[in-house]
């Protein structure tokens, strides 16, 4: 294949700005997918992605495009996940491209998330093609958006295609711009193989399938290969491309994007960002930009029915085959029994894993409140990493503590600056700076403790700004904080799964909010239940759940057995969602309540 006629690109867009719709149109217009087999939004394969309108797993398709210059071009469209949890994956799939199409909604303008990905694309030296989408909608203001792109990003956007991905209007201009402006892949076809791994999936018959961009050289069936970071050796069994159907080929050449299968049993050998080369006479230097991923957020996952522990373990094992960023290890909680401490890239990642476990593996789970990793510096000079608040050592033995902070960029219309600053204050944010983007919009920069934003920061940000704010963050580092462990006692017993680490100055407010919220969430039982919050064994807040006097229906249903039975079935369903903690039945939601802020 002549490299001159290859174009590799991604689409960058904020959620709902039309990335998937544009991808669908491109697939249609290049006749890659005929209309009959066209499912809306082809690239999102997992059900969950489709439902949530987000892309979690990457995918790459090869398209043929007959350009106006009379040549046929081979396009590789590489999809990127659209969420802050997956920044590293995004950067690697961008590294597989030479260009990016930046889709901006003609009425919404640029959002912080988009901006973060644009910067990632610029870091990877990508040619960026701005495109204004949804110009057919009444609220569209393409001129304002063009001005914004020029002011905020510094990209020339006067000639940006003004399209409607939905109707197909001017989408051809986008394809022509890709031909004209995205550089052809460089790379030496005769050099030793260097293939960038930007995604992997697990296939139960063929093992791990790695998605790769051939940066240098070429690869064919039978080649013996080495993963340079994990130092794993394999032999290529199959390779090919996707259209998006899988198409087998005998080889992949320089500049191409495709997949390889090599009977790889463990996803642990295949890291996103790693370089594949030949086992012998391979490249000496790997491609730049590789790093190992650390879990940012941890939580305990426990089966509601304790006899399903083994099922949960099997399910986690299977999920991990497909998701190398999911970490887990067995742990035991006095309150919840046997379960797993799981590490995630972020909150969305955690939600998705939990939902898949419940939906695909039919498990009922209790998730403890998400926690970040705290550093406890001991009086003896050692340091302990704590990802489970209940395991924080005795306060007497701790000299001081540190917690992770993130640099957060919040983009917000000027009139909402006040509420956003108030929110950041409540979340213990440290104000850095504020920059006016244009007449109506501000960039706010804050240092925020990661532990404060993992739970509901984005939801609160949206509600404080009527959905107008967007934000992005990156890890900044660890800083000292006055942190203490807060225990929750149910019926006078400490429930280890409900312990959290909080800032000392905020502890009283939190304690009050948590006990009050839990009082509302835990249904009445046959005895009165005190809920207490304690720090160092000292009670700082208390609420009481009054005893249930009776649970029987004294209603005149006579012979209507169905109604009586339905009522019981409903109550039984309710009980199924609860975990017996000591003598108290606690519903799932209550375990999240420990992250309640003061005002709810």
């Amino acid at each position: 294949m002549n490299q001159k006629y290859i174009r590799n690109f991604s689409i960058i867009a904020h959620i709902d700005h039309g990335k998937s719709t544009l991808a669908d149109r491109i697939l249609e217009m290049t006749k890659t997918v005929d209309n009959r087999e066209m499912m809306e939004q082809m690239l999102d394969t997992l059900d969950l992605e489709r439902e949530r309108g987000i892309t979690i797993k990457l995918n790459a398709v090869q398209l043929k495009y007959m350009a106006n210059d009379g040549n046929e071009y081979t396009f590789h469209l590489i999809d990127t996940p659209g969420h802050v949890d997956f920044t590293y994956e995004v950067s690697r799939s961008l590294a597989a491209c030479e260009g990016a199409v930046l889709v901006v909604d003609a009425s919404q303008g640029i959002e912080a998330q988009t901006l973060a990905n644009v910067y990632l694309a610029l870091d990877n030296n990508l040619e960026i093609i701005p495109v204004i989408n949804k110009v057919d909608l009444p609220a569209a203001d393409p001129l304002r958006v063009i001005e914004e792109i020029e002011n905020v990003i510094g990209l020339e956007a006067v000639n940006a295609p003004q399209i409607s991905a939905k109707t197909g209007l001017n989408v051809e201009q986008v394809l022509e711009a890709i031909v004209a402006r995205v550089p052809a892949p460089q790379g030496d076809p005769d050099a030793p193989l260097k293939a960038l791994v930007f995604d992997s999936i697990y296939d139960s018959y063929r093992g791990v399938i790695a998605y790769v961009r051939i940066k240098e050289g070429s690869v064919k069936i039978g080649d013996k290969i080495r993963f340079m970071a994990t130092n794993a050796y394999y032999e290529i069994v199959e390779c090919g491309i996707r259209t998006p159907k899988e198409v087998k080929r005998s080889s992949l050449s320089c500049g191409e994007v495709g997949w390889i299968a090599a009977s790889i049993k463990s996803v642990k050998d295949v890291h996103v960002g790693d370089t594949i080369t030949f086992a012998q006479n391979g490249a000496i230097e790997p491609l730049p930009g590789y790093r190992t991923l650390n879990s940012m957020v941890f939580c305990g996952l426990y089966p509601i029915e304790s006899n399903r522990y083994n099922d949960l373990r099997d399910a986690l094992e299977k999920l991990q085959l497909n998701d190398a960023s999911l970490k887990y290890e067995a742990e035991t909680s006095q309150a919840l029994g046997f379960g797993f401490r799981c590490g995630f890239l972020g909150l969305l990642h955690m939600d998705v894993v939990q939902e898949r476990l419940e939906r695909e593996y039919n498990l009922s789970l209790i998730a403890t409140a998400p926690s970040v990793v705290y550093h406890a510096f001991m009086t003896d000079g050692s340091m302990i990493s704590v990802d489970n608040p209940s395991l924080l050592p005795d306060v007497q033995k701790i000299h001081h503590m540190e917690e992770p902070f993130v640099k957060a960029t919040i983009m917000v219309p000027t009139e909402y600056v006040g509420p956003v600053m108030e929110l950041c204050q409540k979340k213990r944010g440290i104000y850095k700076e504020m920059i006016a983007v244009d007449a109506g919009r501000m960039h706010l920069h804050y240092l925020l403790p990661l532990g404060e934003i993992v739970y509901d920061f984005f939801d609160r940000l949206k509600s404080a700004t009527r959905g107008y704010a967007s934000y992005d963050y990156e890890l900044d580092g660890y800083y000292e904080s006055k942190l203490v462990k807060m225990d929750i006692l149910l019926n006078s017993e400490v429930v280890d799964a409900l312990s959290t680490i909080v800032h000392r100055d905020f502890a009283y407010g939190r304690g009050k909010a948590i006990t009050e919220k839990m009082r509302k969430l835990i249904p009445r039982q046959q005895f009165e239940i005190p809920i207490q919050a304690a720090i160092n064994n000292k009670i700082i807040a208390r609420s009481d759940i009054k005893a249930l006097r009776k649970n029987v229906l004294a209603k005149c249903y006579g012979g209507d057995i169905t109604r009586k039975k339905k009522l019981l079935e409903k109550q039984k369903e309710g009980k199924k969602r609860m975990k017996q903690v000591g003598s108290v039945e606690v519903p799932q939601e209550a375990f999240m309540a420990v992250l309640s802020m003061d005002e709810d």
Binding site: R549, V552, A554, G558, I561, T562, K565, L567, Q571
Partner: protein, 373 residues
């Protein structure tokens, strides 16, 4: 399978002169033509039962006493052939429209038990729930019933009404006791979504207060010599509602009328709630369930444990060919341990606490996959 004929009959009269605020049963405003057509339909339904007689018959509603005197006569004449020698024949009535003539008619046609909707002695509460009678109306009807020879009277009372105080309810209980009625049914107000209260989003009262009402009734009626023989029902010795006992004993019963539920030969059904369809089409069911042994075993327990006496061990064994202890071993053990179930030589029954938390007890029985007997 054996084809036993049901010994009980329920007929649902869907007409009311006024619709009460809490009601979500099948009911429509009384209309003479509609009621005539309804009676025609009853005639058809009953004709299918020719030759059968019933040991208990219950005419409920709605408000059966809302029928005109001619219509009531037609209805009672239709039923007459189905009355067994020792039949307990109950009719529900509202104090405001149960005239002496209607009472005489009932007596003449074999009705020997009346269930009277008294609900409360406070006119402010009666107004609030949309009842149209006064305490004097209730008093009068009771005197008239006795005058014409119907002593087997039951009165319905309600608790947990909005604004109702314990003192209000105490007055109602005092009045009921004073009447020396052989049977009293006391129902907690439930806010049904499909009632006027439900549509107005009236809130249920606090669970503790509801417990206080329940306890007050139990205390006062027990002191007055009543037996709390079922969760909502009290009677003087020997005066249980025989018809309702067929429900609690999980026996078969025939249902006629829109929305009525019946059970015959391992089959449970609910007749359509749509009055128009009931009148114009054949027999249509909202629900028609062929019961498995598993269903029947659980339902037997669900109904039986509502009785103070509980379940007779021998009856379960005879019915299903296996002992209740074998089938529900785990649930029984758990609830005995909790002190919620008690075994005697002949019965299993809920303790006082077990009765209050009967739903929790029953949920344990649901979770058991019974052994097939």
């Amino acid at each position: 399978m054996e084809q036993n004929k049901a010994k009980s009959l329920y007929i649902h009269i869907p007409f009311c002169q006024h619709i009460c605020e809490y009601c979500d049963f099948v009911r429509v405003g009384y209309h003479q033509d509609l009621a005539d057509r309804f009676l025609k339909r009853c005639e058809q339904d009953l004709s299918l039962r020719q030759g059968e007689t019933f040991e208990t018959i219950y005419i409920g509603g709605g408000t059966p006493s809302a029928l005109s005197i001619e219509q009531l006569k037609t209805l009672l004449m239709l039923i007459r052939p189905f009355i067994d020698v020792n039949c307990e024949f109950t009719m529900e009535a509202n104090p405001e429209n149960f005239s002496e003539d209607k009472i005489k008619l009932c007596v003449e046609y074999g009705v020997n038990r009346i269930s009277l909707g008294v609900q409360s002695v406070q006119s402010k509460l009666l107004n609030l729930i949309g009842r149209k009678h006064t305490l004097e109306d209730a008093q009068n009807v009771i005197s008239l019933l006795r005058k014409w020879g119907i002593d087997n009277i039951s009165a319905d009372g309600m608790y947990g009404l909005p604004t109702q105080t314990l003192a209000d309810f105490k007055d109602t209980l005092t009045w009921l006791i004073h009447q020396k009625l052989p049977h009293v049914s006391l129902y907690a107000l439930t806010i049904e979504p499909n009632s006027a209260f439900g549509r107005k989003h009236v809130q249920s009262i606090d669970n503790s207060l509801e417990g206080d009402f329940y306890q007050l009734a139990d205390d006062m009626l027990s002191d007055a010599g009543y037996q709390h023989y079922e969760i909502s029902n009290f009677c003087l010795p020997g005066m249980e509602s025989r018809h309702n006992l067929t429900y609690w004993h999980y026996e078969d019963f025939v249902a006629i009328g829109p929305g009525a539920a019946g059970k015959e030969n391992h089959r449970r059904y609910t007749i359509t709630k749509n009055i128009h369809r009931y009148l114009t089409e054949g027999i249509i069911f909202d629900e028609d369930i062929q019961l498995s042994v598993t269903d029947e075993m659980f339902e037997f327990v669900m109904m039986g444990l509502r009785l103070k006496k509980g379940i007779e061990l021998r009856r379960f064994k005879t019915r299903f060919g296996i002992s209740i202890e074998t089938v529900f071993n785990k649930a029984i053990e758990k609830n005995i341990e909790k002190g919620w179930l008690i075994f005697s030589d002949t019965h299993v029954f809920p303790s006082d606490d077990g009765r209050l938390f009967l739903h929790d007890v029953l949920i344990d029985f649901m979770e058991v996959e019974p052994v097939n007997g």
